[in-house]
Every structure is written in C-alpha cells, then in structure tokens.
C-alpha cells in the first residue's frame, strides 16, 4: 500500500510562497543552536555551503567526505558557469523567465514552487560568491560578465574561465575551513557513510567507515543532511569522478526514504568519446563550446575522409538544420539524442565511429584564434592533452556521456525526505530540474540549497528538537546498523570469487547505456532487468576483493558501491518501464512525435514517481506526487 506523500508547498501566489514560508517557519534561538548537532555528508557545493552556513549560525556540524580533502568533491569539475537572474545584460531576463526556462527545460516534470524558488534565490548567490573572492569573468570596466548557455535566449551565466565549479567550490570550502578553525565544524575526510541510523523513525546518525584505517564508526546527531551528489557513475563510463557513488542515497532509501524518478539521467552531448576498452572515464568538454563551435557529421555513411577533407556541402550541421531557432544551443537532452541518431545512422566519426564533430574553424575565421583562445583556451589545451589533437587545426570529436542525475531522493518543499530529520540537497535530491537540467543550473541548485534554503528549512525541523538530548550512539539501533555493515564487508572479503567489482561495474554500465540510456523501449528495459538479475546473482557468488576489511582497501570500497548499483540499476529500469511516455532525458521509443521528438502524456504521467523500498530490489512500491501546474500551461516543448 503506497503512502501518501505531501510536498508541503506553502500557501500564496507563486512569487510569495518562499517569503510566506520564511515569515512563518519556526526558528531556533542563537543560544540553543550550539546544543544541536547536524551531520552533513558530502562536501561539494551543496554540502560545504550548508555546513558552513549552519556553522556560522551556531550549530555544531560534523562534515564527512570520502575524498582526502573536502576541496576535491566533484563540483570542482564543473566548467561552464552558474546561472543567476541579475539581468545585468538588460536582455529581458526576469525571475519568472528563469523559472519558466527551467521548467520548460525540464519538460514540465518539476514542481512549480521549487523551481520558482531556485530562480528567486539565484541573484544572492552571485553576491555571496563575489564577497568570498570568487574571480568571475569581468568587463574592462570592472562589471561582471555573462555568457549564454543552452536552452535559453538570454545571457545569465556567470563564469570563471572554464573552472567555475572549482572557484565556487573553493569559496564554500574556504568558508567551511574557516568554521573548522573556529571549532564549529568537525571534519571527517576519508570517511564513507555506510548506513543511516533511525531512532523512533527519525534520522539520528550514521555509520561511517574510516577509509584509511578500516575502522567502523558511529556518529549521532539531531539531523542528517545528505549532499552526496549524483549517481551517473552507475553507467561506469561517465563524466563523474571515479569515487562518485549512490551508496549514501541507496542505504537511506533502504531505511525508508523514497527515491524519485531514478531513471532520469542527463547524457551530456559534449564529452570526449571512448577510445578503448580500458577506458575509465569520459571527460566533459564544457557546453559553452557550443556558443562558438558548430556540430556536424558527414552526409555520407561510413565516411573515410578526414574532417578537413570533407567539403562544406557534404557536411550536415544537423542541429542547425533541425532546430533553427536554437541551433547548436539546443538543450542537452535534444543535442545528445540528435547525436545518437546520427551515430546510429552510421554517420559517426573517429576510430570507433562513436563521435560527431565540434568545429571551430568558422569562429576562428570570424573572430580570430586569439579571441577563441581567450574564451576556451584551457579546454583546447585539455583536449590536446587527452587526445593529442590540436583543435585549432581540426574539429574536436565529441560524444554523449552520462552526466547528471535529475532523479534522487524525494524531498518536500523543505528538502526533507520521507524520513523525519533526513534532508537531501543538491544533486542528491530530485526536486528542481524535472526530466532534464539546463546547463549551469547545477552549480546554482547546489549553492541555493546549501546557502539559502537548508539554513531556513532545517530550523523548522530542529525547533522541535531543542529539548531532545544528544543522540546516544550506544543505542541498540547503532549497534544493529554497525553489525550489518560489518557483516556485509566481511561477506565481500570472504567470497573470494574470480571477478573484481570494477569488472562487474563495467558490465552493468554497458547494460544501462544500451537499454536505459539515451533511448529506452519496453522490450529493452525488460531484457535489461533480466540481465541485471543474473549479474546481481553472480555478484553475490563470484566477487573478488583482495586484502581485508581492517585496513585501507580501495577494492573493498568499490565492492560496496557496486553492490548498491546492482540494486539501484533495477529500480532505474523499473522506473523507465513504468513511465509510458517520453519526457526530457527519458525517451521511450514507443512514445515519440512524427518528427521524432519526445511525446509527453500529461493525462497519465504528470507526476513524480517516488519509489519505496519493499524488502528487495525487484518489487518497489510506486508512490505518485501529482504535478499541478497552476501558473504555467505545459506545452509541447519546441526549440525549432
């Protein structure tokens, strides 16, 4: 029996909801805050900004990350920029337009109130980042610069060359380290959360493993925030860091938190193609390249000539042809699918015929190499390092790659999951991007959740906890959770099979890419589920983890993450199979318009699918949160 889930959207007109919320939310007085402990898992933009902001307010924070320093979290790798509604360019931007762009970009599958709040809070973020010393691009006059990004017709993207994520993350990391110095934050780097602990139904702590010593630790708190990012690494080849994983989310899910729209994965159109079977990741090239680069494939199938030998009239600039008003800046889901379509028609280029060209020759002719180098120099250098090719002389070869999880833990307007006291922020939750995220909205959401939303909404929960004693980690709930974690680790070690976690992961990723990736079908998803069953069974018997559990052991870390992927992957397929429509990144081959675009079904599927764990991976319970559009009329999304 499905539970009833409430989004807790505040009363009032769309533009007043957040103000109304803030006016009426409960508060904790300054002298009570130091009595309250908060665990924050993850130190990316969402986690670090939440931890720092809450510590500044006076709460006692325990901050965890699996990397060796909080500054390494994968927000660091975001290149192109962060969106904010400042309308500095006087080009017609407004909070409403930014809200509408985001909602439309997400193919009308996100909550109006959350999406509006994201746009509303965006301007403050730029103020905060500048105050922290983030060196955004500037005009010669000293004013902030903007660039344009996919899926919109205004310039609202702020950037620090091609390293915007790094610079924003360093801003929040430094704020976090400042609070550590002041004694308000305890930092646990090289720690991985392996379970969530509930007492009387409330989130009260975590079990974590010290990755350097193998020691299992209990940590208690009054509330737990998961800011553990996305799980695109489940596809094995992805733009994510090697350590990115779903384990914190998945283990919270198995303790009762619902997972929403888990199959909605953004496949980024401009990453570097796979070059061989040993490959461990696909490097992203910023979407900003599409401002000046033109995407094309040869008109001939199986073209043998090199790019520069193919004359202009034998090239197909397919995005410009199919989407004349947005052209090369069509949103990511559309650009990726269009690339796949060309590759499937045997028009792909490169040794493995798995790429399309991204060509700067026209831009270099028009603006000169110097200006192009100033705009994208570091990306051209990176391209040369990885491929050995000079992109000033010949086009880049790019290919779609798994990138961002629009799905994640279901949260209400407070960003609280279905477990009281457990919050999920940033990419770890599902709330703002619908079925497709717009470029440069990811850094934005992580920061807005961490700096501006959680500090208000968590107080609304904590206000009722001030009389509650510090969590006792000797409580039986901690002992049970710790024992289960220990037993699982021992099982991995004692199996002594013949295949490593990584080998299983590669195989699982291939199944997902082929059948639950850029395009999906009923037949494909059903066969994927059966393949996953077989692989999961084999994983239980034939896993090889060298070494032991009482020591640093990176193979053991991978074993736990892949074990969770073996279950989450099935939920992704079930979710994709349930949704008999196409929307955004979720493209079901059976549901498309005559010209091959996504065909939504608002009658049947205007809801978020929030899945509930039911004891084993194959029979989750579907809970539906209806999406009610009060202010915007969903339309057939067109970028033509």
């Amino acid at each position: 029996m499905a539970k009833k889930i409430y989004a807790n959207i505040p009363e009032g007109d769309l533009k007043d909801k957040w103000s109304n919320y803030k006016a009426h939310a409960k508060l904790v007085s300054p002298n009570n805050r130091k009595k309250l402990d908060i665990i924050v898992v993850g130190t990316g933009l969402a986690g670090a900004s939440a931890a720092a902001s809450l510590a500044e307010m006076g709460y006692k924070i325990k901050s965890f990350c699996f990397q060796d320093s909080p500054r390494r979290a994968h927000s660091v790798a975001a290149q192109g920029g962060v969106n904010a509604m400042k309308n500095y360019q006087n080009d017609g931007d407004s909070v409403y337009r930014m809200f509408y762009d985001t909602l439309k970009g997400g193919d009308f599958r996100s909550r109006e109130a959350n999406t509006y709040r994201l746009a509303e809070c965006s301007a403050s973020l730029i103020d905060q980042a500048v105050a922290q010393g983030v060196p955004f691009g500037r005009e010669y006059s000293g004013y902030l610069r903007n660039r344009s990004f996919g899926g919109v017709q205004v310039s609202r993207t702020f950037y620090s060359r091609g390293q915007t994520g790094q610079q924003l993350l360093l801003g929040s990391y430094q704020a976090l380290m400042r609070q550590k110095e002041q004694g308000n934050v305890q930092l646990f780097a090289r720690h991985e959360m392996l379970d969530l602990v509930l007492i009387d139904g409330k989130a009260k702590g975590i079990i974590a493993r010290n990755l350097d010593t193998g020691k299992i630790e209990r940590h208690g708190a009054h509330a737990v925030i998961l800011a553990t990012g996305g799980f695109g690494k489940i596809y094995y080849l992805s733009t994510l860091a090697m350590g990115c994983n779903a384990s914190a989310l998945w283990r919270a899910h198995k303790k009762g938190a619902l997972m929403a729209n888990p199959s909605w994965t953004q496949v980024h159109p401009t990453s570097l193609p796979q070059s061989g079977p040993y490959q461990s990741k696909l490097t992203l090239m910023s979407e900003s390249l599409r401002n000046d680069g033109r995407i094309w494939v040869p008109q001939l199938k199986n073209e043998q000539r090199s790019a520069v030998e193919i004359p202009e009239e034998e090239r197909d600039y397919y995005l410009e042809r199919k989407y004349p008003s947005f052209g090369n800046l069509a949103p990511r889901d559309i650009a990726s699918r269009a690339a796949k379509e060309q590759i499937d028609k045997e028009k792909g280029v490169g040794a493995l015929k798995n790429a399309v060209y991204l060509d700067f020759s026209h831009a270099i002719k028009e603006y000169g190499q110097e200006l192009i180098a100033e705009r994208y120099g570091n990306l051209f250098n990176m391209y040369q390092k990885i491929t050995g090719i000079d992109a000033y002389k010949e086009p880049m070869k790019i290919s779609p790659s798994a990138h961002f999880s629009m799905g994640g833990l279901w949260v209400d307007y407070d960003l609280m999951t279905t477990i009281p006291g457990l919050f999920a922020i940033g990419e770890a939750n599902f709330s703002d991007h619908g079925a497709n995220r717009l470029g440069a909205n990811s850094l934005l959401q992580a920061c807005v959740d961490g700096y501006y939303i959680t500090p208000y909404t968590i107080q609304n929960y904590l206000a009722d906890q001030i009389q509650v004693e510090k969590t006792d980690t000797n409580h039986p709930a901690f002992a049970t959770a710790e024992k289960q974690v220990q037993e699982q680790l021992n099982r991995f070690i004692n199996q002594k099979g013949t295949r490593t976690a990584e080998e299983f992961h590669r195989e699982l990723g291939k199944i997902l890419y082929d059948k639950c990736g850029l395009s999906r079908s009923e037949e494909g998803l059903k066969s994927a589920i059966s393949q996953i069953h077989n692989l999961r069974e084999e994983y239980k018997k034939n896993l090889l983890v060298p070494g032991d559990a009482e020591d640093i052991n990176s193979e053991l870390e991978k074993a736990g993450r892949v074990s969770d992927y073996m279950e989450l992957s099935e939920l992704m397929c079930i979710d994709a199979l349930n949704r008999n429509e196409s929307c955004g990144a979720h493209f079901r081959e059976e549901y498309q318009t005559e010209d091959g675009e996504a065909q939504r079904d608002d009658e049947e599927f205007a809801y978020s699918a929030a899945w509930e764990w039911n004891g084993e991976a194959s029979s989750p319970i579907l809970n539906k949160e209806p999406l009610e559009f009060e202010y915007v009329q969903p339309t057939q999304r067109s970028y033509k």
Binding site: P135, R178, K385, Y452
Partner: protein, 247 residues
C-alpha cells in the same frame, strides 16, 4: 607496448617501503597513466595480491587528488599536466618507469603511493578565506574589479591543491600553495582588509605543520600542473613583511 614498472610499496607509516618490479605487456598508447595503473591492479588482484593504493578521483586534472612521482618528477614528464592527464603515448615500448609517492615531512605515507595531505587543508583553515558569513554580501556589481585584476586573481586561484610543489621542493616548502591563496585574495578589493593577518597566520601555520622554508629555487612552478607563478611567493613575502613592519 611493454612497460617495466618499479612501484613503491609500503604497508603503512610504521613500516619501511621498497620498490617492487612489475612488467605490463599490453599497454595501449591511448591509455592514461592511471588507466595503466588500473591495468596493473587488475592483474595483481587476479593473482591474489594486494593492488597498489594510489590517490585519484576526477581524472580530468582539476580535483587535485592524484599525484605521484614519475621517474622522479611530480606528475611526470609533461609540463602543466596532472598524473591523470598524462597519457602513455609519451612513453616508449620497453621503458622503465619509477612510480613513487609524493615525499615530504608534512605528507606521511598512508599506504603505497597514497599520502596524507591534510596539512594543506590546515594551512587554508589558518586564514585562506575572506571572513564573510552567508547573507552578509553586498550587491555583486557594487564591488568593481577590473578585467586585469580579476584575471590575475584567477591565475593565482587556479591552484588545485595537489601538493606537487611541496614534493618537488628540496625544502618541502608549501610556499607556492599558500602564496597562491594569499595572493589571490590580496589582489581583490574584498580580500584586502584581512590581507596582513591572513599572510601572517598562514605562513606561521605552514611552519608549525613541518613544511620547510622557501629558498627561491623556483622548482615548484616548473612542476606545477596549473603553472602557478612564483611571483605569488613574492607577493606573500611582501604581505608578510608589510604586516611585520606595521607591528
């Protein structure tokens, strides 16, 4: 191609390490250096041996977590390149490659090629920030920063915190690391207010943590994957001396 590896193996801080020889027969020129190590680790795991522990995460040159000495050079032979961005096409069939951890008093070995660089976080904690709380910020365009100032601050801010400068320095000094932050923030109007205190606090912390002094060999810049300039060290010294003179 065939690669002859000599890899540093060390169980933990309290045991002595040694170089172990491994031969990889089928290394592809398109592989990254870390993918070559993955290949070694898969081979070791299948033989029932402990894989080599090494640090890495983003594998696109920005997180700063990877970093080993390759034939005695931090991050290997190619300029401005992290270990993860180094590709095997820069080596030849039959090459012998020595792979060792970053070595410095302040970077104790955890296991094999993995070292503890948390001392770098401690340097930042001493003052590598502008003391502004969430919510205090004025309107962004009220702080004007010229294009040149912003670009110059960015050049300093680009440091990825990998520690190659420390591993390269004969004194194991973290001067390039600390100065890049001191200098970035001193170049910006919003960071100037605290620039003296910041410089003194960070330099003192560096000393407390066991990093050596800078003797201006400039080797750090040569091995820095982000090409952070030693001029930052000059600015750090300027800020530090200015602060001391004021007292």
């Amino acid at each position: 191609m065939k690669i002859d590896l000599k890899v540093w193996r060390q169980k933990n801080q309290n045991t002595k390490g040694h170089l172990e020889s491994y031969v990889l027969e089928e290394v592809d020129a398109e592989m990254s250096f870390l993918e070559m190590l993955d290949m070694l680790n898969l081979k070791l795991a299948k033989q029932g041996e402990r894989p080599v522990e090494f640090d890495h995460d983003c594998r696109e040159g920005i997180c700063g977590q990877c970093g080993v000495m390759i034939n005695g050079i931090a991050h290997g032979p190619i300029k401005n390149t992290t270990t993860c961005q180094l590709h095997m096409r820069y080596f030849k069939d039959g090459d012998t490659i020595y792979v060792e951890p970053f070595k410095a008093k302040a970077f104790p070995v955890i296991r094999d090629l993995k070292v503890d660089r948390s001392a770098l976080d401690d340097i930042i904690a001493a003052g590598g920030y502008i003391s502004v709380n969430t919510g205090q910020a004025p309107e962004a365009n009220s702080i004007l920063i010229s294009h040149e100032e912003a670009e110059s601050a960015f050049d300093s801010a680009a440091c990825i915190g990998c520690g190659a400068c420390v591993a390269t320095c004969k004194n194991a000094s973290a001067a390039l690391f600390a100065s890049s932050k001191i200098s970035q923030l001193a170049k910006l109007p919003q960071g100037k207010k605290e620039s003296s205190k910041r410089a003194v606090d960070m330099v003192n912390r560096m000393e407390d943590l066991g990093f050596g002094h800078c003797t201006n060999t400039e080797a750090c810049q040569v091995e820095c994957p982000q090409d952070i300039s030693v001029l930052n060290i000059a600015q750090m010294n300027y800020e530090y001396n200015k602060a001391k003179l004021k007292k």
